[in-house]
């Protein structure tokens, strides 16, 4: 039952705690903020520059869900698409540390914090990933700990 899509990718056994994934860079434009906000977060401070200036955020900022989504996309491009990923389990302690304003460039790292075999599914391992997303001034914008399933090459091997 080899999965032809992921057979040549890195599997759970190939990963090591402490591995750091560089997220690259992504610039958030006004149009990106408006497009996401119209569909998922139509609050005035994500849709209207005047309202944004008068809000707690002090200017047009991306939805926190958009910032997290972009961080996720950067992780998929540089890591999850290169391993035998079987989907996410969820996350803990997501913190929006600073708003991402229109024109900001985000980047940062994701670090493998933990690796453990699944108790209920021996063919899977759980990789725990710590996000540290920052803006161009190196200020933190988002941190979270994501848990993702990765297929084991040898499900019969002792955990």
């Amino acid at each position: 039952m080899t999965n032809p899509v992921t057979k040549d990718r890195r599997h759970f056994e190939d990963l090591a705690v402490g591995e750091v994934i560089d997220l690259g860079h992504e610039t958030i434009t006004k149009d990106m903020i408006f497009a996401f906000a119209r569909e998922f977060d139509p609050l005035p401070f994500h849709l209207d520059e005047e309202a944004a200036r008068n809000s707690l955020l002090g200017g047009l900022a991306s939805s926190g869900w958009q910032t997290g989504g972009l961080g996720l996309r950067m992780l998929v491009d540089r890591f999850l698409s290169t391993v035998a990923s079987c989907g996410g389990l969820g996350f803990r302690n997501l913190k929006w540390k600073n708003p991402v304003m229109a024109g900001d460039t985000i980047g940062g790292t994701v670090t493998i914090a933990e690796l453990r075999r699944s108790n209920s599914h021996p063919q899977w391992g759980i990789v725990t990933l710590d996000f540290d997303v920052r803006n161009q001034k190196d200020k933190p914008v988002l941190t979270m700990r994501l848990a993702n399933l990765v297929e084991c090459r040898d499900a019969g091997a002792p955990a």
Binding site: V5, R73, L80, S81, C86, F91, W96
Partner: protein, 185 residues
Amino acid sequence: MTRWFENITPGEPFPLGSHTFTEEEIIRFGRAYDPQYFHIDPELARESHFGGLIASGWHTVSIGHRKMVDALFAEEERLRGLGEEPGVSGPSPGVNAMDFKVPVRPGDTVTYELVVNDKRASNSIPGWGLLFNRITAVNQRNELVYTADLVSFSKLRDYKMPLRLRLLQALTRVPVIGRRLRRGA
């Protein structure tokens, strides 16, 4: 909810409504934010253990957020209709826990509900309270899709700012001093 912090009763459920996920929107979201093959390619997705295309968890959650925003606007309208001034909700500092349970497939209808489990005044931002919310999402078979424990800000109606803070706020309006104070904060 766009109720004043003081008017929110912990434990009271707020239904947020439902959303039916189409294949087109699952793929569009996946391409933009989570381009793993089981979120963007129905053919390749069959090879995965999911056996077909599924929505990104981030997509299901983003729709849940949209439903919450719509509910805030509806509550605001309702209160205005009663001749009352609605409360003010602020940005969210974060999410304590998010657990994805069963995947969402094209054609699935997900129903969302929010319960404020607890509330307290904010220690860091005077005049605002913190709400500890749980969002629960279930599909048309009543299977749990996800649970989320979120924190959000809500303005206090009955807050009286202490003299010390009122003076500080007045000082932040003086150009040079204000910039220094904000930088120090």
